[in-house]
Amino acid sequence: MKCRRCKAPAVIDVRRHNAGFCRDCFLHHCREQVRKTIEDFEMLAPGDRVLVAVSGGKDSLALWDILRDLDYDVDGLYLGLGIDGYSDESGVYARAYADKVGAQLVEIDLPTDVGFDIPTGSRIARRVPCSACGLSKRHLFNQAAVDGGYDVVATGHNLDDEAAVLFGNVLRWSTEYLGRQLPVLPEGNGFARKVKPLVRLGERETAAYCVLAGIDYQVEECPMAAGNRHLGYKSALNAIEEQSPGSKHAFYFGFLEKASPLFTPEAAAEQEQLQQCARCGTPTTGEVCAFCRLVERATR
């Protein structure tokens, strides 16, 4: 197979583009996909200070690297989750990248700074680990951005992530979530802007980006995620994609173009009901936000 751009031997094939790429042209392809996403969805403005949520995995490290290549003012934020045999290693990869390129990495350690780890906290609070983890990440990423004077939080959600979440939301017709499933959530009401610049890249592409760019990342999967519903959705979508390349892209971008506006009024109405959490000041629909309730249960 030849590279679509330069006709040199290809090292990676991307079936939904019906194309192969050599190393340099593939790295160029990834940067251009991110640049187009940022422009199309008006994610970032000149001078914005960007905080990238970095897990040590392929997506967040690829995102950090690409945003740096595109000359954005971007620091990393690593959240230690206290998951035995996983979190220590993930931090090593995040720090190694930051050291290698001379980038600033902000660190928060959930057990030390908040008082619980994900396995113990989720068990005590009787929440699914991935749910407690996601809630903690959303809260602490936003708080770190607001406290640190950042305009934007960028996360490494890729096309596969977004298609799988959409698949789950459609299966259950979770209309309030469908109304918020956007690649950009604007700032305001105590929230930093949130952007997902990788939504045009599949996770096979972000992994390939890291391999070809020489970025070491944590290949091992989080042990808490094994067998979760999200992985089941991804497996189903990959089975469809193998038979019909481009299906995931058509599903997600078709939703954004044709269906998403139908659900935004419900999400907007919920935004109008937001008030400040009585404990931490974060916007919430209740008196106390979900994260403070989780902390209370997980640390008692």
């Binding site: 992994a207 391999v211 091992e220 990959n238």
Partner: protein, 64 residues
Amino acid sequence: MVLRNPRREIDMHGPMRVHALLERLEINRESVLVIRGDTLVTGDVQLSDDDQVEIRPVVSGGCA
């Protein structure tokens, strides 16, 4: 040949194309990268007996 998550090693006899290898192992080609030596290879590449090959999963399970 090394497979990851969980890590295990198997021997396969070539010559065999990457696509055929994944088909034989019943692995969805959208879910992995195939690395020969230290570089990626496309599905049409012929693998030989002597090649050291890693099949690396790319699917992450977090749902934040």
